[in-house]
Amino acid sequence: MATQAVKRGVVAALVVIGIALWLTAAFLMAQSVQNSARFSALHVWILLINAAGLVTLIVLIAARILRLVRAWRARAIGSRLEARMVWTFGALAIVPIFVLFYFSVEFINRGIDSWFHVEVRQGLEDALSLSRAAFDVRMRESLERTQFIAREVEQSDRNLINVVSQLRPGVGASELTVFGGSGRILATSSERRDDFLPLRPSTEIVWQVRQGRPYVNLEPIAGGGYFIRAAVAIGAANASSEQRLLQAVYPVEGRLGELADTVETAYQDYAEKARLREPLKTSFKLTLTLVLMMATFAALYGAFWAARRLVQPIQSLVKGTRAVAQGDLDTRLPLTSHDELGMLVHSFNDMTKRLLRARSDAQQSQAAVEAERANLAVILARLSTGVISLQPDLSVRTVNQAAIAILSGDGGDPGLRGESDLIGKSLDAAAAGAPLFEQFVLVCRTHLEHGEAEWREQIALSSDTARRTLICACTALPGEAERPSGYVLVFDDITALLQAQRDAAWGEVARRLAHEIKNPLTPIRLSAERLRHKLLEGMNPNDAQILERATHTIVQQVEAMKEMVNAFSEYARTPKMDLSSFDLNQLVAEVTDLYRAQDRGAHAAQTAKRHLSVILDPQLGEAPGAIEADRGRLRQLLHNLLANACEALEGREEARLQVETRLTIRSGGSVAELIVEDNGPGFAPDVAGRLFDPYVTTKPKGTGLGLAIVKKIIEEHGGKIEAQNVTGNAGESNGARVRVELPLVAANRAAGTRASREAVLEPRRERA
């Protein structure tokens, strides 16, 4: 900034000095045209100053023009405005200068020409002639007097010097000299007495006199004034004797001499002026031209300067505006002046300052909002309740992880990947491919399209693989002018809750059945046996046979009922675990051997071709692979599963039953897997979801408690159970598979409790 100011100051000083020099030079030049001698010495400098000024200006203007042209070509901001301003200013300044120049030249031409009239010249020449005429009379008189003296001298015998001295005052001559041959002075007399040297006759005079012609002439005196010189021969021209020459000088009285000098001077002056007319005109024009060029170039440069000065703040304003438009709010323009443009610049700076403040405020509040949002997102993510917020057009605004987990099946529907995939999509698009979500959307849409903004409903969703019950509440978000700005759907998966309630209810039923039904069964049986025992003997064979059959049926049915009641009581019984560490493979082998023996025995005839394969993971038998569980209950579990499978395979050709154990490492610890698979008809679709509920069965025989008990045992061990159909390539049911997971160590069973609950959600069938 400081160097800028210094530079500007130096430039300004130089400009001022240059203008002063130029003005002085032009002034001196104008003066010198009038008064030549005084300024001739300065002329070289004057010319040099002018030339230097011109060259400087031309170079400066050329540089400016070059810059402007470049800026124009580059389409720089302000170049067009600057060009137009230069053009306007330049035209405004230069046109008057040229008009002035034209009239000045005309004026000089006419003015100078008007000085030289023919009359003046003629008058001067006449004055000259008049003066000559006046002198001619005197000259003739002087000659006559001289000739008189010459005759006197010739006739006198006296001393020549005395004669001359005597005669001189008489004729009024100031000097009288007699020259002999070869210019020797014979006698002389003069007014002046001291140190007198007579005027010498020139050869011209001598020759003229020698030719017999008397000489008389008027001669100027150096420093003003005239004298008349007359010369005549004394006596006749004589070749033998030496020719004597008398020269007389007569003064011209002062007044006449002065007048003659005036006339002469005036004539000479006029002649000089007439002679200098053309050069003077040329010189004037030249001076004018020089002044014109300087003025023109100075005006042009001034135009550039003024345009630049005007355009610069505009340029910086435009630049600043662009910078602000590109988001650079730190732009501050230098305040150059205090005029309107300065005010504009000031306002601009003020504006950017305010914008900057507003932006930082907005950023702060945005950051606060973001933080709040992040908090909310964390809270929503941790929530096990599903939350979906919708735009008024029913597109998804936000969705939390729990909502996705609830609405996608456990198998993982491909349509529901992450929250970000759903946000912004319409509900239908978001739900596409996820059957549970589609059903959910259908319910919601029905409500919302009927204009119900606030509702609460329990929704049952089901797909091929899953079945869920949701309790869903919808609230409208407050918006403008009675139109909601969106909706919030809050829903909870209450499937497990319902399941638990159902389990509890069944437990209660079983306990009551066991208690209420088991008690009368023994008296009924005893009574029936007593009836038979007492009455059978006194009856005829027909009646006896009827009685025999009836009591047998009663006893048999009571036994069946007892069994059933026992099963119920088994189911309702509070678990009492008898934990021990043992080899699961060994247990499986024992139980499967039993079924293999059965095959060979009773069923051999009917299902000769049933094939039982057992695949045991040897790792399970080792010390670390030993399972810590209630051996007796696991035996029951195996029995139930195998019995269930065998029943499903009854009457089937090429029946196949496979039992497999496997050791699997999970993140929570090692688990033993037990898989029982058959190629029976599979689970019926209508019982899916209630497969492990008690008293759900599709078979004529059975309590419907088989799988319910299995599930109970698994839960007690903190394990997990899945049942699903084995599907062939074409999607047809190709048998059933039940997969059981049991933690190897009892300590891991806490986590398993939840997993066992989830197992309820698996697709199931009922074959118990």
Partner: protein, 195 residues
């Protein structure tokens, strides 16, 4: 690169030739226009005083004559300088003498006046030729007392003349520098001087 060297040499030779021709031309032009020169000059000693005698060649063109007849002054400047010769340094200026003569036409008397501007002595002549004839020779112009010179030293005299017909005043002459002017300089005329 003989090819390029050849071209460069040719160019240089042509350039030198051109400069020579130009110099010769300007020299000849100057010779043509040589209207003033010192024909002869000598210094004699009379009664212990050095006196200058010199002859000039003066040619006045018709234009100059007409200008003088119209009232323009003609001046002749005679410049004499005496130098003491030095072996290893510039010569020492011992004395200089400048004489200025003026010829002008007096319209009233219709005579040409020749004035010595140094002494203000003047004489008049009926014709310009007579007046100029007076300028052509200088007789016995006292220069220096002989006693001021060292007889052991060697001296050199240099003389030149400048003729000027003042058709334009000084200022206009500067402004209209391209117009024909009658200013003439003679070359220096130098000769050894033995005191």
């Amino acid at each position: 690169m003989p090819g390029q060297g050849g071209i460069a040499a040719t160019f240089r030779r042509r350039l030198v030739d051109g400069v020579c021709v130009w110099l010769a031309l300007t020299a000849s032009v100057h010779a043509d226009e040589d209207r003033l020169s010192v024909r002869s000059a000598a210094i004699e000693t009379v009664q212990g005083v050095l006196l200058l005698n010199a002859e000039f060649d003066i040619v006045l063109p018709e234009g100059a004559r007409r200008a003088i007849r119209d009232g323009v002054e003609l001046t002749l400047d005679v410049d004499l300088r005496l130098y003491r010769e030095r072996s290893f340094w510039f010569d020492d200026s011992v004395a200089s003498l400048a004489q200025r003569y003026e010829v002008s036409f007096h319209a009233l008397t219709e005579r040409y006046v020749v004035r010595n501007l140094n002494s203000d002595a003047q004489s008049t002549y009926a014709t310009l030729e007579e007046a100029v004839e007076q300028l052509r020779s200088i007789h016995s112009l006292p220069v220096l007392d002989r006693s001021l010179l060292d007889p052991e030293e060697r001296y050199e005299a240099r003389l030149r003349a400048m003729l000027d017909v003042h058709t334009l005043p000084g200022s206009l002459r500067m402004v209209l520098f391209w117009t024909d002017d009658w200013e003439q300089h003679s070359d220096w005329y130098a000769w050894p001087l033995k005191p």
